[in-house]
Point group: C2
Chain length 326, copies 2
């Protein structure tokens, strides 16, 4: 079977690809495990260098996800699965509404329509976000049954795609599942336009001996999860029994609810002995406003019942990052 | 100021137009009441005859709401308000997914974008539906804070437009409000493709001396509201203070929760002395399945707090229909 990952040249897309190659098999549209003979990583640009793990099953392709013909050209076999990760991120979406609509909404529609055009019933995993929650009516803890009143264009487009995945699934156009991601830590590389980018930065920059500027207060709470569990969660959700998912195919992944101060404490515990760059608090009202609109705490009963993975602890997440990237 | 009603040649569109002309004024983008000097009724086709109440302020225009240029041509002044009622109905959306997407989703986007392009901040009232609720997780009573997991393409597209109205409002592109309609009674004329069409039919056909076939069981419960309160609700929501609406601009209109049997009892009470056509129960699995997925009961605390109107009783709704149409 073929697997397509949109946003495949991103951090999570690449890690997902590597893990899929390692496993070698996925449940295909037949409902049976099938060998992955082709893995297409689609993104707005190709990665600067071909990763060492990318064997001859792997193809990189760059293009515009808002172009329907491009997207239908990616999803060109009936024995196929799609992980739809491509997205304008939260801060980027606040800065460029039209880009967020084009990539997140119309790009999503293109992916769903391309799946629908196949004669099999492709499984599709959509990367949603807990930014679908927000607003004055949001409860202290957001679970899978909480009303979605997002306060960012990013969250709005993610909610819309969850609704589309549910309806395309109900209509028998595809077999969809939406994984609602908490803040993912620890992203390597450079900061990005996600409003939550600093959360990875507060581990990454000090470990690189660099100064890290935190745009929110130390007591800011947020649900986080390590990238290994994010990747494991995508795959577990792909493999989950559709009947067990029922008519709402969107599941909040497991998460830890921690403060910025607690994350810094975990860094200091795990990195004891290393020379760390300084952490400076420099409030940024733009970022603070976005983060204030997001859930402070999240439950994940359905994810747990479905067996989706959760890192053993915050410290383990930091240890994994050091092992994988330093 | 100008007022545009999409779906303006439909039953509710025409009644809304008549009531707006009678009132003569609305709150404009200035925040002050302004005289309505132009009322444009846009629909897929013009009404068969120009209504007697349509004075020289009124223009009818037919066209395709999924064509962006057409829609931006309608919304061509800065001192403007829009009532966006155009929609493929529930049963029609189940029969033609692509049409529902084109009219309800892309048509809605065209309307919102055309409002955004104005230099004022047009008020927009979007006709949503309690069909936004549904699914296995739906509580017995649906209120404004209940998660929206619609089980029809119609409900899905209505939910998406609610989300868009909220985000376009948050971004300052327009000043939107969504009115979530229960089943509207009593629609005159012919049955339509709405799965709830029989609910008006059970009053209308017997009063016309015709046989009415009911596709669901007598104990089927649903929230209903009379068309006079629907029209009054649209206007009251247009006039409501935006601050009082907060960040979730979607409000379920008031409703009565009644069974099919109770509606037949009301008909028999109000129409005593008239010769009524027979009512025959003929279950239709397609309609039953759609209705079973809809809310059986709805609360409307926010609507009540905002002063949105509610008919005095079910009997009064039937009396109004007899007065207005027979």
């Amino acid at each position: 079977m073929k697997v397509v990952i949109t946003g495949g040249a991103g951090f999570i897309g690449l890690r997902l690809a590597e893990e899929l190659l390692r496993r070698g098999r996925l449940t295909g549209p037949s409902g049976e495990p099938e060998a992955i003979d082709s893995l297409l990583l689609f993104d707005v640009s190709e990665p600067p260098a071909r990763p060492a793990w990318a064997d001859d099953r792997v193809t990189f392709q760059s293009g515009d996800i808002s172009d329907a013909a491009t997207v239908s050209g990616l999803i060109d076999r009936d024995d196929i699965s799609v992980f739809h990760l491509a997205s304008v991120v939260s801060g980027g979406g606040e800065l460029d509404f039209d880009l967020a609509m084009r990539v997140n909404l119309h790009g999503g529609l293109n992916v769903f329509e391309a799946c629908r055009a196949r004669s099999g019933l492709p499984r599709l995993v959509f990367a949603s976000s807990i930014a679908v929650f927000g607003g004055a009516g949001m409860p202290a803890v957001v679970g899978d049954h909480v009303k979605q009143t997002p306060q960012t264009t990013y969250g709005m487009t993610k909610t819309i795609c969850e609704l589309l995945v549910n309806d395309y699934t109900r209509k028998g156009f595809l077999d969809g599942r939406s994984a609602r991601l908490p803040t993912v830590i620890v992203r390597p590389g450079k900061p990005n336009q996600a409003a939550s980018s600093f959360v990875s930065g507060l581990f990454r920059e000090p470990l690189n001996g660099e100064v890290c500027r935190i745009p929110v207060a130390p007591e800011t709470m947020m649900p986080v999860l390590g990238y290994r569990s994010i990747v494991g969660g995508f795959i577990a959700l792909h493999e989950a029994d559709g009947e067990a998912l029922g008519d709402d195919r969107a599941v909040s992944l497991p998460s830890f609810t921690v403060s910025v101060a607690e994350m810094i404490e975990a860094l200091n515990r795990v990195a004891s002995g290393r020379s760390l760059g300084e952490i400076v608090f420099e409030p940024d009202p733009f970022i603070e406003a976005i983060c204030a609109g997001w859930p402070q705490d999240a439950s994940h009963d359905r994810a747990t019942a479905l067996g989706l993975p959760k890192d053993a602890s915050l410290d383990v997440i930091v240890e994994n990052y050091i092992e994988d990237y330093l």
